[in-house]
């Protein structure tokens, strides 16, 4: 017993506690009328880690703040236990996963839902942690990863935010909660010559709600009137491929995901369902791809080009009466992907150009990006300058300008025009 206590004491003494984080207060103002864009943002981020031998306990949390009215919310974004056996790693808890070869806009990265308040953040900042169990094994040049999520997570949308142009006025009621929360994903990666190849599968429920049924008023001699739309989540299976290869100093990263999404069978009790209820059965295949080419100049400036594509095909749908099961001739509803890269909501084809570099011995960070909608008129231009007068301190200024099509008010970029902003902030890293 004494020996056991001694060993345990030694273990804890040899444990390592580590922390890091940032404090980042900032303000965003509209370029149009200089008024403040009043959305919540992460003013403090804190990562804590505790290591005991092959075990890690990690938490990633953030304090979210809204400037006016002043609101504060503490968010535990990740909290998980990681075990590192000789063959790989096992993690359990609320985690953010990262799949795919491209640096962002990854169509194969679907384990976590997205936080639309942070849509324009890079990296994991825009994701919502998912309670999950994951295991990854390394064998020679192979990596095999499996993920199981027992709880369905949905995207966080800025409902009712008048300062977010694409916001929905109020949080919709979900009429049909997901019946089976369980979600699974597998990914295998290997190296062939100088290239890495990855293949992934994911099966789960959509992150955004879609139409599953409607209450419709059918009357003779007049067109049917939809009285109420009832929402739920489609089930989606994704098959993904990704690879990385090199041509001299050019790096090519490619990622493609084929999605098969379908409305779940509602299994409604016909005797308890209203007589005006009609179910919408939809099955759609869509493909999302991203091609990324990157180059680093001699002055260490990284230039990245991404071509993002989203294509819907094999679309089929039926409307049928819940009570009689008879098919009826109602029109199809507009399809919106419930999984995949969130940039598909802006455009079906877009070109992204970005460059970034660090100059003056880590004092000056410069970054710029352009997103061009290749489908129709619309673009986003952004730039960012961060100057560090003292180590771990930065003053950051930047702007983002959206421009759409004045003749098309439905154009996403036109809707985003009023979100064109300048941003000024301070960052302190600790």
């Amino acid at each position: 017993m004494k020996k056991y206590i001694f060993l345990l004491t030694i273990k804890f003494i040899s444990a390592q506690f580590n922390y890091s984080g940032e404090i980042n207060p900032y303000v965003m103002n509209r370029t149009s009328n200089k008024t403040q864009i009043n959305l919540p943002y992460r003013i403090i981020s804190l990562d804590l880690g505790y290591t005991i031998g092959n075990l890690d306990i990690k938490t990633v949390s953030a304090l979210e703040h809204r400037n006016n009215p002043s609101e504060w919310e503490y968010d535990i974004r990740e909290v998980y236990l990681a075990y590192y056996p000789s063959w790989g790693e096992v993690k359990v808890g609320k985690q953010i996963h990262a799949w795919g070869a491209a640096d962002g806009n990854n169509p194969t990265d679907n384990i976590n839902a997205y936080d639309y308040y942070y849509l324009f953040n890079s990296g994991t900042g825009k994701k919502v942690g998912a309670f999950s169990f994951s295991a990854k094994a390394y064998y020679k040049s192979f990596q095999l990863e499996g993920i199981f999520t027992p709880k369905h997570e949905v995207n966080r949308f800025p409902y009712g935010e008048k300062d977010f142009p694409l916001a929905i006025a109020e949080k919709p009621t979900i009429e049909y909660p997901v019946e089976n929360d369980w979600e699974f994903g597998f990914r295998i990666q290997t190296t062939v010559g100088e290239s890495d190849f990855g293949f992934s599968i994911f099966n789960g429920n959509d992150r955004t709600p879609s139409l599953l049924s409607a209450n419709v008023n059918f009357q003779d001699n007049i067109p049917p009137v939809i009285k109420k739309l009832n929402l739920g989540y489609r089930t989606t299976t994704m098959w993904g491929l990704d690879f990385v290869t090199f041509f001299g100093d050019l790096t090519l990263r490619m990622e493609s995901a084929l999605f098969k999404t379908q409305t779940p069978i509602l299994r409604l009790n016909v005797f308890k369902s209203p007589l005006d209820l009609y179910e919408y059965q939809q099955e759609i295949n869509y493909l999302q791809s991203v091609l990324q080419i990157e180059y680093t100049t001699l002055s260490d400036m990284t230039i990245v080009m991404q071509l993002i594509g989203n294509k819907v095909f094999n679309e089929s749908y039926d409307w049928f009466h819940t009570y009689s099961q008879e098919l009826v001739g109602l029109p199809s509803m507009k399809f919106s992907p419930g999984m995949g890269t969130p940039f598909a909501m802006f455009s079906d084809q877009a070109l992204l150009l970005s460059s970034s570099g660090v100059f003056m011995d880590d004092r000056l960070d410069l970054g710029g990006n352009i997103m061009m909608n290749l489908d129709e008129k619309g673009q986003m231009i952004g730039a960012n300058i961060a100057y560090s007068p003292l180590i771990n301190w930065k003053i950051e200024i930047g702007f983002t300008i959206f421009s759409g099509d004045k003749n098309n008010l439905e154009n996403r970029f036109t809707l985003m025009e009023d979100f064109s902003n300048t941003r000024v902030g301070i960052i302190y890293n600790f």
């Binding site: 940032e22 890690d56 990296g123 390394y138 011995d361 771990n392 890293n429």
Partner: protein, 233 residues
């Protein structure tokens, strides 16, 4: 030069380094430091010459950023990976141009990778005094074309055959970089350069590497030099 090559070097080495970038433009000296840990293991058999890992701990903004390099014997492009905590992803990368600056410093990847004895042709130029030591002055002319240098002049301490200074000449035969290695200390069987400064004469800029802590021959396992370890740091 054979005696320089015969100086005993460890199988593995773990060094904590303070890297200071010093700008001297317009006579105004400004500096900014980083702290990183370098872990390297030599391989005598197989397809790899060395495997190395760089873990950045300061400034805090880049804490957790890690760089893994597998240096191949056959001279083909190194296998390289970069872990960026913000992406939570290990990125496979490639730096085929070894003349590139290493992490914004005045050292290039080529400067840090070391050279084989038979990679250069040597000519003794005479003797010179440097940092209180009498040194052999040797000109080394590379035999291969894929280098950024036309030649190097190396100062070698006559007593212990340690390199004390190197002058680098570019393809136009202009002196453009000078590396000073004034101090070495002996820890057990091995010599350690406790401070190195690379001066870039064209840019009025220099980079100083100071060793904070060093450990030799710890029997580092191969699994340290893997993507898995890169992520865990």
């Amino acid at each position: 030069m054979e005696k320089v090559d015969q100086i005993k070097s460890p199988y593995d080495i773990q060094t904590q380094i303070k890297m200071t970038l010093i700008s001297n433009k317009g006579g105004k000296k400004r500096s900014r430091s980083r702290v990183l840990t370098s872990i390297e293991k030599k391989y005598e058999n197989g397809i790899f010459k060395t495997k190395s890992l760089l873990l950045f701990s300061q400034p805090k903004e880049i804490k957790g950023t890690a760089f893994l390099n597998w240096d191949r014997v056959d001279g083909k492009g190194d296998d390289q990976w970069l872990y960026l905590p913000a992406l939570k992803k290990v990125k496979r990368i490639r730096t085929s141009d070894k003349s590139r600056s290493f992490q914004g410093s005045d050292f290039s990847y080529e400067d840090l990778s070391g050279r084989e004895l038979d990679s250069d042709e040597y000519k003794l130029l005479g003797e010179d005094l440097f940092a209180g030591s009498v040194c052999y002055k040797v000109r080394a002319i590379p035999l291969e074309k894929e280098t950024q240098y036309s030649s190097r002049i190396i100062w070698i301490d006559k007593n212990n055959f340690l390199m004390k200074k190197i002058e680098f000449f570019n393809k136009k035969n202009n002196l453009f970089k000078v590396l000073d290695i004034p101090n070495h200390v002996k820890n057990g069987d091995y010599w350690t350069a406790t401070k190195m400064t690379m001066y870039n004469l064209m840019k009025s800029h220099s980079t100083e590497l100071k060793v904070i802590e060093v450990n030799y021959d710890q029997g580092l396992k191969d699994n340290i030099f893997t993507e898995r370890y890169l992520k865990r740091q």
